[in-house]
Amino acid sequence: MSEDHTLSGLPGRVIYDEIVLARAPWSHVVRQGETLRIVDLEGNQAVDFLVYSLADDAERYSFQDTITAQKNIYLRTGSILRSTEGRPMMTIAATSVAYHDTIGGACSCESNTLRYGHHTRAQHACVDNFLLANAAYGRSKRDMTPNINFFMNVPVEADGTLGIVDGISAPGLYVDLRAEMDVTVVVSNCPQINNPCNGFNPTPVRMIVVA
């Protein structure tokens, strides 16, 4: 059996391994102590990411609590993803990308009309994917909150100017997330084609869970 380089460094036995199609939603329960690896298969593919407590899904990811606890807007190895109650939900145990975004939020049909024009209103967007994936758990728009964008690059300049710019990821780069509580991870494999977050070409990603 040949070794799969994509699995190197993972702490445990693989219990889940799937490809998420370009532009598709995805969700999965990750138990405390398990690690989820997201692999950017073809490079610079934004993975919009939310996480909810399995026991009580009114407790969910909070980008503001996450930024405040680490006093930094970028997510790097060691960053702890915090909930609306300030509790650790997942930890970035490792990543081969320098930093990830959590201030840019998700693209939506509505925000696309602002950023690019009303001709983009009918294009598929991350909020649609989140709504679709969350519907399976009885959640709705009320349960949406600004998310993480793994493999997405949003620099902030001295005067506050920010923007989604060319990515710093590459084929095969990854992020490992260790669950600190039982959680439901909800992902939109970003379908955006109007900015460089996916290199203007949405591509698949791979999801691996080890226990």
Partner: protein, 271 residues
């Protein structure tokens, strides 16, 4: 049996009624049109809300499209965390990430818009004499202050939000990321957040214009990154009637993204 001033219903009624006319700092002006010391050019008859929120206090109000809201940092150390909802359908709310991303900037100030998660402008910042605010750090919570519950002496913004929202039938699922007025947070080159703690000069203010019918929730609690022991001072909220934003408004037309946010509100209101 000893008698006291509240030993019978009638005596208790007299005791209660004797409190009428008591003045404290943190209270609403009723009627709002009796408010004094108003912003330049604002007539008393146009005032629809005037209330001072205590250190650690909170308030909430529905504001119709065109209304102006001025927040005044009376003593220079206020920190006003704010939530905003569409008054018609509260499932539409302020989206901090879209607010920053769509305007290509991480900081708030005069001329900036607050955007909803439906691609619409909720508020314009029409005046800003405060010199910096914060859209990144969120509400203080009991993680920072162990006795931060509403019934304790040092309530936190998240607890205040929950108490205010309960009155609309809303709860934990509705506490979305907030804006903190009056406490600037700068972002360093490496992404580090740097709070300007204060205190600042008294009387700083920010004036907002409602661009749709909204419900706002305000919590005046220490900034979540404030390293001092629980420190915050009272804030005054004053709102008055105003005309909806006209088509030639300079803020409406300042950027193509912002203009489309106004057009989306106008489209939503076409009935």
């Amino acid at each position: 049996m000893t008698s006291s001033s509240t030993s019978t219903p009638g005596a208790a009624r007299d005791h209660a009624r004797a409190m009428a006319g008591t003045r404290v700092e943190a209270m609403p002006t009723i009627p709002a049109t009796s408010a004094t010391d108003l912003p330049d050019g604002v007539e008393a008859k146009a005032v629809i809300w005037d209330e001072t929120l205590a250190a650690g206090g909170y308030g909430s109000r529905r504001l119709n499209r065109g209304a102006r809201l001025r927040l005044t940092d009376l003593y220079g150390d206020a920190c006003v965390s704010m939530l905003a909802f569409n008054a018609e359908q509260t499932v539409e709310r302020l989206n901090v990430a879209d607010t920053l991303k769509v305007q290509w900037n991480a900081y708030l100030g005069a001329g900036r818009l607050l955007l909803s998660d439906m691609g619409r402008v909720m508020f314009s910042v029409v005046e800003d004499a405060a010199g910096g605010h914060d859209a990144l750090c969120g509400a203080s919570n009991t993680v920072g202050y162990g006795d931060g519950q509403d019934f304790a002496s040092r309530p936190t913004a998240r607890e205040r939000f929950l108490l205010a929202l309960a009155r609309y039938g809303l709860g934990r699922r509705d506490v979305h990321p907030c804006i903190n007025w009056f406490k600037a947070v700068a972002i360093a080159d490496d992404g580090a957040t740097e709070l300007q703690v204060g205190p600042f000069a008294p009387g700083r203010f920010v004036t907002l214009r409602a661009e749709m019918d909204v419900i706002i929730v305000l919590a005046n609690c220490p900034h979540v990154l404030d390293p001092r022991d629980y420190t915050v001072t009272p804030v005054r909220a004053t709102a008055w009637r105003g005309l909806p934003t006209p088509e030639d408004d300079p803020i409406r037309n300042a950027t193509p993204e912002g203009l489309r946010a106004f057009q989306n509100v106008e489209d939503y209101l076409a009935r």
